[in-house]
Amino acid sequence: MVKIESSTAVVLDDSGTITVAELVEQSGLSEDELAVLVDCGALEPREREGASWRFSAHCVVTARTARRLRDDFALDDTHALAILLRLMQRIENLELELRRRRWER
């Protein structure tokens, strides 16, 4: 009989924070790539004290999307990746707004 492994899921939203090292581990992006995404505004650290940045847990979702896009399209240019990510975020926000307006109609 297969043993059941039990665990509790962690919601990746703005209520929790993670360190840069945790974001590197969970996203599969390097610290340098994360720094470029921060520079370009695709990722926003919640706390910026020296080298010890902290991010909202939701940044794991954004950074993993970046990693997926990087790998899926074999992208070499992290700046272009950051722009792509911001455009995708705009599309997501517009889709959300569209859904909201459809409800209100």
């Binding site: 297969v2 209520s15 399209f73």
Partner: protein
Amino acid sequence: MRYKDYYATLGVARNASEDDIKKAYRKLARKYHPDVSKETDAEEKFKEVSEAYETLRDKEKRAAYDELGRHAPGEQFQPPPGWERSFGEQPSGGGGSFSFDDIDLADLFAGLGGRARGGPRRPDMPIPGQDFEAAVRISFDQAYKGTEVEFDMSVAEPDDNGVLRRVPRKVRVRIPKGVTSGQKLRVPGKGGKGINGGRDGDLYLDIDVQTHPLYRAEGLDLYMDLPLAPWEAVLGASVEVPTPAGRVTLKVPPGTQAGRKLRLSGRGLARPDGTSGHLYAVAQIVVPTVVDERQRALYGELRDQTAFDPRAHMV
């Protein structure tokens, strides 16, 4: 184990350069990636080309793949004798033998490399386990109260001797209350097993909450339509309304216009940390479609007795 011709999948020659392989892959990714493709079998095609690229872009994996020899696609085959000693994981307990029957080519090469890009790999280098992703569809009630879901997985993982085998796993995951559609959840350590002391991968869940006939969620806030009779909207009323936690009485102020949001504080979704949203009842004015003689007369009297002009601003 069935053979897959990764070179043919990417449409390149076996002696293609790294650059040619990348170019071929990029072209196919643009054609078949599910985010951009309109092809009917795009997802399946993209899976095939990304599996091929994942192996051929990595020098070590490509060398290991080339050593498997050439076979017809789909043909059952065994790696040549000694292949596992050159490229596979080293059995740590000693005396272990390799079995290639219950795994596929993708499992075999996934175990050969880490997530880091480039660089040679030492035989004892820790390799983190793969992350898994799964879509989870739950009811509104489950999202409101929290729930448990079970996953039956069949995963390739090393046994006690380091031999890669496909094994069944059952994982039960507690989903906290207050989740909404589109949210991603992380279940630490429930992905693929790490190798050589590498950390276990994680399981990521994409939440999809079924549409509820009354409530729609926006973050932790909930919205529902509140149909009101014209006299309730004009005169005000106390109406009984449903909420996810049970029925409550809501006071509708006199002169309530359609679209006005009446807030039921703290009646939205709640997180385990105690933060909660509100439930908004959005007023809708609903008129009776059938009126009898007496009612028609009363409406006529109302019309004659009032100077109200809803189109005054259009004059």
